[in-house]
């Protein structure tokens, strides 16, 4: 995984609340055996009309969204299915951080394991970001801060381990495998066997 210290970008704003992973990647795109190339499926049914043409006023289709890598989303972003295709699609499209007041558990965990930074902020900050699309912000992983154009720095929660993994590009499987002896001890010594 790539090391991430900070991401500076203009924001693209998708205000809908409870955006579920079926919207992020509709199920019909899940008949794949690789994580690659899912950007084209991102928000497919919101981005494209029934003829396959881009929907002009969908936020991610607007010219101003070009090159934006910070998505500001309505609350409870990423609810629903466990499909990791959701963060894969966002990353493949160029999104590297999602800012909301609430991000669903499984989506959040999947994001952290792929280097997509979940940024949970208070309602006031979120409200301001919703009203001011396109502002330049910095997601500072090292300082656990979202920095706004007016100089404000808003703290966001990020546990030490996830922060360490993002900053150092650490793949968590390596860490788990380094605990193999402890896992074997647990298997040997537990009171019952599954």
């Amino acid at each position: 995984m790539e090391k991430i210290t900070a991401i500076t970008s203009r924001t693209v704003v998708l205000p809908s609340t409870d955006t579920d992973t079926d919207q992020i990647v509709p199920a019909r795109f899940l008949t794949t055996t690789t994580r690659k190339g899912l950007g084209k499926a991102l928000f497919a049914d919101w981005r494209f009309d029934r003829s396959g043409a881009p929907v002009a006023d969908f936020p991610l289709n607007r010219p101003s969204a070009q090159g934006c890598s910070v998505l500001v989303a309505g609350s409870n972003f990423g609810c629903g299915s466990s499909r990791e295709h959701a963060p894969w699609a966002l990353l493949d499209f160029g999104i590297r951080a999602v800012v909301s007041t609430e991000i669903a558990d499984i989506f959040r965990g999947n994001s952290l394991k792929n280097g997509l930074v979940p940024v949970i902020v208070d309602k006031a900050t979120h409200g301001w970001l919703l009203e001011n699309p396109g502002v330049e912000v910095t997601v500072d992983v090292s300082a656990r801060q979202l920095r706004l154009p007016d100089g404000r720095a808003v703290e966001f929660p990020l546990d030490s381990f996830s922060r360490y993994c993002l900053l150092n590009g650490v793949d968590q499987l390596g860490y788990l495998l380094s605990r193999s002896d402890a896992i074997a001890d647990f298997e040997r010594n537990r009171a019952w066997q599954p």
Binding site: P26, T33, S82, A104, R179, A182
Partner: protein, 468 residues
């Protein structure tokens, strides 16, 4: 150690390395269920790193998501039945399982079925276990007092390679459900009412424990329906304490402990229920006796009303967008809205008791002209049992389609889809935009309500279709 909840007991029993301020806990996983859609990239990771599956004996695979619900006689004909990418996905699963020594319940197995239906049915889902699967509805298995939750594909690779996951301890939420359900009101209505109450994000960060007299009175099939939809309230897991009902259900199942092992397992399971005085981070009380059959009106499972009540008004743009998508107006009831499709199936409501509920309504009645009704059993075993009881005959005589098991129209990955603009009364778990097909409109309901709606050709109150 002080008084512990069911969740805390199971959690503590699986700690390989304790959580610290710097590192998450290493949590041991007793059962890893897997299916064709969320596993291929995990197998790619193992292959790229030259890793073996640590405990193939604790891993069980099936084919359900992109799998046809018409009989598959040979793998060669798969491409004719589903899209070629889905056929490839299924073949890759078969190859990976063979190569890595994972037991796969495939097309040649009479034990194949929806992953969350077969675990319990085989008796491999047991109280006190940690169970994971690359599927958010893994919460279903919590009905047995297991700690069961959905994981992403990276974590599927973690479990395959290490049999463990890195986890932070979640918070706990007790949902206390007291009172007796009225006739025509089912477990599905209970969980829809709970989600309506706490909201689709209400359980985020929490494990729910469902408790109280109304929960104890439920059968295992019904408890699974409740726990299944915990994720629709944002909770990764939902649990119910094991009791006589649980133990009776598991007794004699093929992969349940046998003989002396059974006796010691039962003793262990009896000690799992929450200790008196255990604390939860939050509690919610629900009165089951006042609940009516529930139907959703919007595009998430929290947008739900009693069937005889009007659709409420909302203030947000998302709420308005949702009603527009559904073609629904605030102030008017869902009752009586014309229906195009009825789907009875999914890991929420495809078990034998669900099919019996639906058959009770269909018996001697016809699916309304112009309505397509699809009945998809949760497993091949359930299919066989239903056929032994003659339920298939009831469905077919009514004009409904009777299929092979699979996820089917719950998420429309296998070609079973709802058309654009069509309204489907569905016993599944998600009414998200496009979930059942591009532009499809989903109304979530119980099998009783779905069957009544198929017969009426409109969203119907099942209480008017009950006999005796």
């Amino acid at each position: 150690m002080g008084a512990q909840s069911l969740f805390e007991k199971v959690w503590n029993d699986h700690i390989v390395a304790a959580e610290t301020s710097e590192t998450p806990a290493v949590l041991y996983i007793d059962l890893h269920l897997t299916h064709e859609v969320t596993s291929p990239e995990a197998f790619n990771v193992l292959a790229a790193r030259g890793l073996a599956v640590r405990r193939p004996d604790l891993t069980l695979a099936t084919l359900d998501h992109s799998t046809p619900t018409v009989p598959v006689k040979t793998l060669k004909e798969l491409d004719l039945l589903v899209e070629s990418s889905a056929a490839t996905q299924i073949r890759v699963m078969i190859e990976n399982c063979a190569k890595l020594g994972i037991r796969l319940l495939g097309f040649d197995s009479d034990q194949r079925g929806i992953v969350h239906v077969i675990g319990p049915e085989l008796g491999i889902t047991q109280p006190g276990k940690t169970i994971v699967c690359g599927d958010s509805h893994t919460s279903t298995h919590g009905a047995f007092g297991a700690l069961a939750f959905g994981i992403g594909t990276t974590e599927v690779a973690h479990v395959l390679a290490s049999q463990c996951l890195l986890q932070r301890k979640p918070k706990t939420l007790a949902v206390n459900v007291q009172g007796r359900l009225q006739p025509g009101v089912t477990a599905k209505d209970v969980i829809l009412a709970i989600i309506g109450r706490i909201g689709v994000g209400g359980g985020t960060g929490h494990v729910i424990e469902y408790r109280g007299s109304a929960i104890s009175a439920l059968s295992m099939d019904e408890r699974m329906t409740v726990c299944n939809m915990s994720i629709e309230a944002g909770a990764r897991a939902g649990m119910i304490a094991p009791d006589d009902t649980t133990i009776q259900y598991l007794s004699g199942r093929p992969l349940a402990p046998q003989g002396r092992d059974w006796e010691s397992a039962v003793r262990r399971w009896r000690a799992l229920p929450c200790d008196a005085g255990a604390r939860f981070d939050r509690e919610v009380d629900v009165d089951a006796s006042v609940l009516a059959p529930m139907v959703t009106f919007g595009t998430n499972p929290g947008m739900v009303v009693p069937i005889d009540q009007p659709v409420p008004a909302g203030e947000t743009a998302s709420f308005a967008k949702s009603l527009a998508y559904m073609g629904v107006e605030a102030g008017k009831p869902m009752l009586g809205r014309p229906v195009d499709v009825v789907f009875i199936g999914s890991c929420t409501n495809s078990r034998l008791s669900d099919l019996r509920d639906a058959a009770q309504v269909f018996r001697g009645r016809k699916v309304s002209a112009g309505v397509r009704a699809l009945v998809v059993p949760g497993s091949q075993a359930i299919k066989k049992q239903a056929e032994a009881e003659g339920l298939d005959q009831v469905f077919m005589a009514a004009g409904a389609e009777w299929r092979e098991s699979g996820c089917s129209m719950c998420l429309g990955m296998n070609g079973d889809t709802v058309g654009r603009g069509q309204l489907c009364v569905s016993t599944s778990n998600r009414n998200f935009e496009g979930r059942q097909g591009v532009g499809a409109r989903t109304v979530l309901a119980s099998p009783l309500t779905a069957a009544a709606s198929a017969v009426a050709g409109r969203v119907a109150d099942p209480r008017q279709y009950l006999r005796g």
